[in-house]
Symmetry: C2
Subunit: 156 residues, 2 copies
DNA sequence: TTAATAACAGACCATTTTGGTCTGCGATTA
DNA sequence: TAATCGCAGACCAAAATGGTCTGTTATTAA
């Protein structure tokens, strides 16, 4: 539930790897797949999509491979997710054009969910790849320790 | 991707319906399923879980049904999601105890993802059912219009 | 007391999504 | 011109999800 797909995980791992290279350094799929034990074929697809979306630059030749196309601070996590999974949407009748949605006429929850979705998209868009990679490890292993939004949850 | 399940949709619809009843009014499954065209059997399961988790009160008798167990402002959206889907987790190696995760030893992305997850959980926990139900319709149909966090996205 | 009502419980199947594989093509350069 | 590497898409397997079916238990009104 609300889970990221493995492909997004792979994308983020690969991008993290590429970010650690020297400027303009080209890395091929095999290196990355070995570093993280990711099946090469599927990693290939993931990187292909990232390159099609302008996040990676591909070098289509022997000794070729991939490199970041733009600085890590100019790529948002939302960009990555969108590149891999199409688009983020917490609604099950995603884009509002789902004609088969039985609840469409008296759906009380659509616009509230859109608000929540908007907030989630905002925070994903607000976090750059650079920021993402340089996150401090969370302390204590409990999620609440890492929250940096203002205020406190009101429940429990 | 990052999608809520239909069961959560059904739960939120039912809760919304129940919130609109008079205080302590009991409603049975059939009424709700008819109101929103939800298959009764699956709605039954959803409501059962909500009642098991203390969100709904069940009245196990003829003319029985369900009612809210506590005021809508004391129930968070996260509570509802947790009740239905177990728990929210954007990580694909959800709870960190996934022994089959190949990346576990050199996973660069775990803690950054936990930070993001924490933020998402925070905002879901911060929104009460009452607030959820009384959300204004989003204007213009575009998600960005409904965002009320400070600042602006930095990309695009 | 009992029949009707409505929740409870869990096995079960179908559909969809996702993860992953296989096969072959295209571009570049040593 | 052959080796290396990315590109592309069909394809299959596994898992998650949505939904169905069968039967049981609690309560109450007749």
């Amino acid at each position: 539930m609300l889970k990221l797909t493995k492909k997004v995980d792979y994308a983020l791992l690969a991008l993290s790897f590429l970010s650690q290279q020297e400027e303009g350094q080209v890395v091929n799929i095999r290196e990355i797949s070995e570093a993280y034990q990711i099946p090469t074929e599927i990693l290939a697809k993931v990187l292909q999509r990232l390159s099609k979306k302008g996040i990676l630059q591909s070098h289509h030749a022997p000794k070729g491979g991939y490199s970041l196309k733009k600085p890590a601070k100019n790529v948002s996590i939302l960009d990555v997710i969108n590149a891999i999974d199409g688009s983020v949407g917490i609604l099950s009748c995603s884009d509002g054009h789902d004609k088969t949605c039985q609840q469409i006429d008296n759906c009380d929850i659509r616009s509230p969910l859109e608000r929540i979705q908007g907030k989630i998209m905002w925070l994903l868009e607000d976090m750059s790849l650079e920021e993402f990679i340089h996150s401090e490890p969370t302390t204590g292993g409990v999620l609440h320790g890492s929250i940096n939004l203002p205020g406190q949850p009101r429940y429990h």
